[in-house]
Amino acid sequence: MQDSKISVSGLNLFYGENHALKDINIKIHENTVMALIGPSGCGKSTFLKCLNRMNDLVDGVKVDGKVLLDGEDIYDPGVDTTLLRKKVGMVFQQPNPFPMSIYDNIAYGPRIHGIKNKSRLDEIVENALKGAAIFDEVKDRLKAPALGLSGGQQQRLCIARALAVEPEVLLMDEPTSALDPISTLKIEELMNDLKKRYTVVVVTHNMQQAARVSDETAFFLLGELVEADETMNIFGHPKDKRTEDYITGRFG
């Protein structure tokens, strides 16, 4: 196995009184896709947001433990969260393009990070759109409003937007749950493609999807990480009884 890109140890998270993540220890390897599964409310989204400190925005959150990204603790006071989030991109469940043109959506990130040069931006936009497998569909209408795209296209646009800042890790929270089967297929293919260059962590409710797209799978239950292993093992020979029950549909 490769290096671990992200290494989480002793992570606990509280929403006020609610102990939402309990002593999580896990390693996520470079250039792989890791799937997070588990029943609703088990803490998948919460864990994902720990990886780029999006939880900072929630009032009354207390985080405790270590999350190392390339060996640096992202909860160190010296960390610049904007640099962290540039490095660890995120795609949300609901496609959420900004109310501006397709081009400006993609150029948003690069511009924030100081890129002003027009031809450089053009290049970045084109590459990002290609990377998210949507370039051909929108290349003739880059100036059109992004909100005019279909749901599936919007989600790929959001992926392109995340790619445009050249992250190293890509977090995806149920990226296909709001999409139709054809768009879902496109995005699954895309994930397979992305892992060549990025480390991908994806939350999914869909067991088949986890099995199809991921190299490794982590199973959460009631805020605990029950088991994390290669996807084949999780779906083939889970070590924990609870994992087996969940995968075979006995609860959740």
Binding site: R85, I112, H113
Partner: protein, 310 residues
């Protein structure tokens, strides 16, 4: 089952229908009354406001600069009055709107929830303060300060007419402060309506909070903010009593240290005694104000419609 007595569904509908029809008629009349009210105001303004335009001459009224309605040889030029309303309102909005919008940003995005929970209701409360109170503070606190400034600035200007601080700037400041609560409240709700995921998306891309505010939140809320500014403009251009004393109420060019008269204060100043042609000219002033307001109202409707559509 024949023993069950089945009644006919036809019958005493006349009585009931009468009550129903009366109720419907009453409500229709109520709705009609609203239309009649506006129609009569509009028609009244037009009927009374247009004759003077032709008697005195459109050019003489709208582009004349001499306002001596009670002179032996009266002159009815309201150009300065129109310009004062335009310049005064614009200036007030240019000051009040940015401050108001950024304050709304503060309440919605920067302030801690606890602080926001204090500030927001306070600002809502201020929207209900009678405008004369703003005028009272203007005349009591602002005019004397302006006079000091005026003396300092124009000490060596023998041609300057001293106003004792009752000038355009004072009125503009009063108006700007007066529209603040409106602008803040409407902008806060506009910002509040921006989907939370857009903020999350921007932050997740490594944008700072400030970048997110200026590059995503404010643009997303722009139609709501436009509505806030338009509402503020409407309030500023329509205000009369708060600024009639503060502005000095002489008809002059709208220069910062001139004593000036607005469309509204022109009506206030002379409404009581104007008769004949003079009164008709006052209605013409009212009509000009009315046209401005209609323009503002219609653009507001457009903005709000546009928001519903998108």
């Amino acid at each position: 089952m024949a023993e069950k007595q089945s009644f006919s569904i036809k019958g005493n509908r006349k009585n009931k229908a009468l009550v129903e029809h009366v109720a419907e008629a009453v409500f229709t009349v109520c709705a009609l009354l609203a239309v009649v009210a506006v129609a009569s105001i509009t028609v009244y303004m037009i009927i009374n406001g247009t004759p003077a335009l032709f008697k005195v001459g459109i050019k003489e009224i709208l582009f004349g600069t001499v306002w001596q309605p009670a002179a032996k040889d009266p002159s009815f030029g309201i150009l300065y009055v129109i310009l004062t309303s335009i310049v005064g309102t614009t200036a007030a909005v240019l000051i009040g709107a940015p401050v108001g919008i950024l304050t709304a940003v503060f309440i919605e995005e920067i302030a801690s929830p606890r602080l926001a929970a204090i500030v927001k209701p306070a600002v809502e409360l201020l929207a209900g303060i009678p405008s004369v109170i703003y005028g009272l503070l203007g005349i009591y606190l602002l005019n004397p300060m302006m006079y000091k400034l005026e003396i300092a600035l124009f000490a060596d200007a023998p041609d300057h007419q001293f106003t004792g601080g009752a000038n355009l700037i004072s009125a503009v400041i009063v108006l700007a402060v007066m529209i603040l609560p409106t602008v803040i409240n409407v902008t806060v709700s506009a910002l509040h309506a921006v989907p939370k995921q857009q903020k999350a998306a921007s932050l997740a891309m490594g944008a700072t909070r400030i970048q997110t505010i200026f590059k995503v939140l404010l643009p997303s809320a722009r139609s709501g903010i436009a509505a806030a500014v338009v509402l503020g403009t409407g309030r500023a251009i329509g205000e009369a009593m708060a600024i009639t004393l503060v502005s000095g109420s002489s008809v002059n060019m709208p220069l910062p240290f001139n004593s000036v008269r607005f469309l509204t204060t022109a009506i206030v100043a002379e409404m009581g005694y104007a008769a004949g042609l003079h009164r008709q000219v006052l209605f013409t002033i009212g009509l000009v104000l009315f046209v401005f307001i209609m323009f503002i109202n219609i653009s507001l409707t457009k903005i709000l419609k546009g928001r519903e559509d998108s």
